[in-house]
Assembly symmetry: C2
Homo-oligomer: 338 residues x 2
C-alpha cells in the first residue's frame, strides 16, 4: 500500500493539534508526519504515534518530499506558503480563509461535494467551521426538496478563536465568580457570562465577515450561486461546539418524518431528536465527536414549506481538522493525489 | 394626589424583588406596599423605602383595600388568587402564563398596545419575557413597513428560571473550573459552558411552549392574528439579559437608515449600532437597564424587504417586573384604575 508524507502547518495550534490526533486514529496511510510551526515553537516536542516528534520551523524548503500539506496557521501564512508547498509537489489542504473563494480552488466538504476535487490544481480549501456543519445538514434536504432560502443564527464557541481565547474564557469565568477584575484580550468585550454578536470584521452593510463567509461559502459548496441566505453570527461562552438555529424554506412541502429519516441516513450526521425526553444536540454532547448533530427538526408553520433545525458540531474537528483530513482521505481513495 | 395600595404576590422571588425595587424608583404613588408570598417566606423582612416590611402569607383575605396587585408567583397561584384579588376590588397585573391568551384579558406592553387596556375587566396579563422585547422592536417597524413574517432565535438567560437557576449556573461553573462533579437540578442538563435548546415543555409538533408563546403572544399584542412567525428558544449560560436574533420580512423595501432612526426615536428602545467600533447590544450592557437595546440593524439581502436585528433586554426588568409596573402606571395615568 502506498503511504504518504504529511505535513501539518500550524501544528501547535488548537486545530493543528486536532489534526495530529485525528490522523493517528484514522486510515490515511502516513509514512512520515512533519510538524511545522513558527519560530516560537521551535524545538517543542509533540507526540506522534507515541513517539516524541520535534516541531520544525516553517520555511520555503519545508515541503521537500511532502505529499499532503495540511495548513492551519492563518491566512497570511497560507497566502505565502501554500503556493510554495504546492510547487514542491504537495497537495495543500488549507484551513484558512485565503483561498476559499478563488474559482480555481475547490471548497470541499466530503459528504457534500466530493466531486469538486476532480481536476484540482494542488490547492484545496477547507470551509469555515460554521459553514461546514450547516451544509452537511442542508445538502440532504436540498437533494430531496430544493433549497429556496436559509436564515441562520449561530452560537459559536470560543475555541474557534484559538486556545488563547479558551484560556481567557476560563480565566474570566474564575475572576467573575471570585468578584475580581477581568482581563479582556481575545475579544473587544468580556465573553464570560456574556454574548458578543461580533465574529471577524464588519463590512459597510453591517454584516460581519463570518456572516458573509456563511453566505458565500455555502453557495459555492452547494453550487447554488444565487441561494438566498442570511446569517447572524454570535460568540457564546462555550469552550467547544458551535450551535446553529437554521430556518429553511424549501421549494416543496416537507414531510418532517421523511426529513428526519433522510438526515439520519446521511453520512456525517447523527440525529438526536426526542425533545420530550430532553434529547437534542448540545455543545456538551458534540464536543470531541466527528458527526454533525441535528435535532429540533420541525415544521415552520410560518411558511408552506418551512423547516427548523438545530445543528451542533465540534468546531475544531468537523469544523476544521477532521474535514481537512477527510479531504485528504478522499483524494487518496479516488487516486486524485498522483 | 391619589395614592394606591399595591400588593406584590411572589415578593421574595427574583421578579418580585425587581418589582419592589422598580416601584421605589418610579412615579407610581404608592401609599402602602403589601408583600405576599408562600408560607415558606412567612416572617421574612424585606426593605421598602428603607423600612423593613414583613412578608405576609398569601391568602383569600390578602387583598382587602388593595388597589393594584402585581402577581409573579407562577400560573397555579395566579389561577387561584387573581380572581379573588380582582373580586376584592384590585386590578390584577399578572406576570404568569395563566391568563395571557384569554380573549377577555388584555395582554399589554405599554409602548406597543396601551389601548388594549381600555375596558379591561380587572385582570391584565404581562407577556412572556422573550415576547416583550421582541414586540417593542417590531412595533415601530410594523407601523412603517407592515410586518410580513418573523423568524427569531433566542439566547435566554438563566434568571428567567428564577434565582435557583442563577445559583446553579454559578455553582456548576465553579465546579467545572475546579474539575469537580456538577449538580444538575434546574434543567435536564448542565447549563454551565453549555446551551440547552429547551425552554418549557414540548408539543406534538416539536415546538416548545416558550416558542409557541412567542408566536401567539406576539400576534395578540400586535393584533395580527395571522402573522407568520417561527421561533427557536435556547437557554444560554448568562445570568441576566435575553438576546434575540430577529429576521423580519416587511411588505415594502426597507431603508436601513430610516429603520435605525425610527427605532432610536421609539419609546423604550436604545439603539446601539456601531459594530465597527464594537458597539452592539450585549447582555452585559442590558442587565439592570430599563430599555430594549437594538443593534446589528442591517438589510437581509436574501429578501426584497428583509431586515436583521439583534435585540437584548433585561429579562427580569423589561421582560417582567418593569413592564408590569409600567402597565400600572398607564392605568393610573389614564384613569383606568377607578
Amino acid at each position: 500500500m502506498r503511504e504518504y508524507n504529511v505535513a501539518i502547518v500550524g501544528a501547535t495550534g488548537a486545530v493543528g493539534e486536532q489534526m495530529r490526533k485525528i490522523l493517528e486514529s484514522r486510515d490515511l496511510p502516513v509514512s512520515h508526519l512533519k510538524l511545522l510551526a513558527s519560530e516560537r515553537s521551535e524545538g517543542k516536542r509533540l507526540t506522534w504515534k507515541r513517539v516524541g516528534t520535534e516541531v520544525e520551523v516553517l520555511g520555503a524548503d519545508s515541503f521537500q518530499n511532502i505529499d499532503i500539506a495540511l495548513f492551519s496557521a492563518g491566512s497570511e501564512i497560507s497566502e505565502e506558503y501554500a503556493p510554495i508547498a504546492r510547487d514542491s509537489g504537495a497537495v495543500v489542504i488549507d484551513n484558512s480563509n485565503a483561498w476559499r473563494m478563488d474559482p480555481e480552488v475547490p471548497l470541499v466538504v466530503p459528504e457534500v461535494n466530493p466531486a469538486a476535487l476532480m481536476g484540482h490544481h494542488g490547492l484545496i480549501a477547507n470551509p469555515n467551521c460554521s459553514t461546514i456543519q450547516m451544509v452537511v445538514a442542508l445538502k440532504p434536504l436540498h437533494d430531496r426538496w430544493n433549497l429556496k432560502r436559509v436564515v441562520v443564527s449561530t452560537y459559536q464557541a470560543v475555541s474557534g478563536s484559538g486556545q488563547k481565547a479558551v484560556d481567557e474564557l476560563m480565566a474570566q469565568s474564575e475572576a467573575y465568580l471570585a468578584d475580581k477584575p477581568l482581563d479582556i484580550e481575545s475579544y473587544p468585550h468580556q465573553i464570560a457570562f456574556n454574548l458578543i454578536p461580533h465574529i471577524d470584521v464588519f463590512d459597510d452593510d453591517g454584516n460581519s465577515k463570518e456572516e458573509m463567509k456563511m453566505v458565500h461559502e455555502t453557495r459555492k459548496i452547494l453550487d447554488l450561486d444565487d441561494l438566498p441566505i442570511t446569517a447572524t453570527t454570535v460568540r457564546v461562552p462555550i469552550v467547544v461546539g458551535h450551535s446553529e438555529s437554521i430556518n429553511v424554506e424549501l421549494s416543496e412541502p416537507v414531510d418532517v418524518e421523511e426529513a428526519r429519516k433522510i438526515l439520519a441516513e446521511s453520512s456525517g450526521i447523527t440525529v438526536i431528536d426526542n425533545p420530550r425526553e430532553a434529547e437534542y444536540p448540545m455543545p456538551l454532547n458534540a464536543a470531541g465527536m466527528d458527526d454533525c448533530y441535528v435535532g429540533r427538526i420541525r415544521r415552520d408553520d410560518s411558511l408552506a414549506s418551512g423547516l427548523n433545525l438545530w445543528v451542533v458540531a465540534d468546531n475544531l474537528r468537523k469544523g476544521a481538522a477532521l474535514n481537512a483530513v477527510q479531504i485528504a482521505e478522499v483524494l487518496v481513495r479516488a487516486g486524485l493525489k498522483e
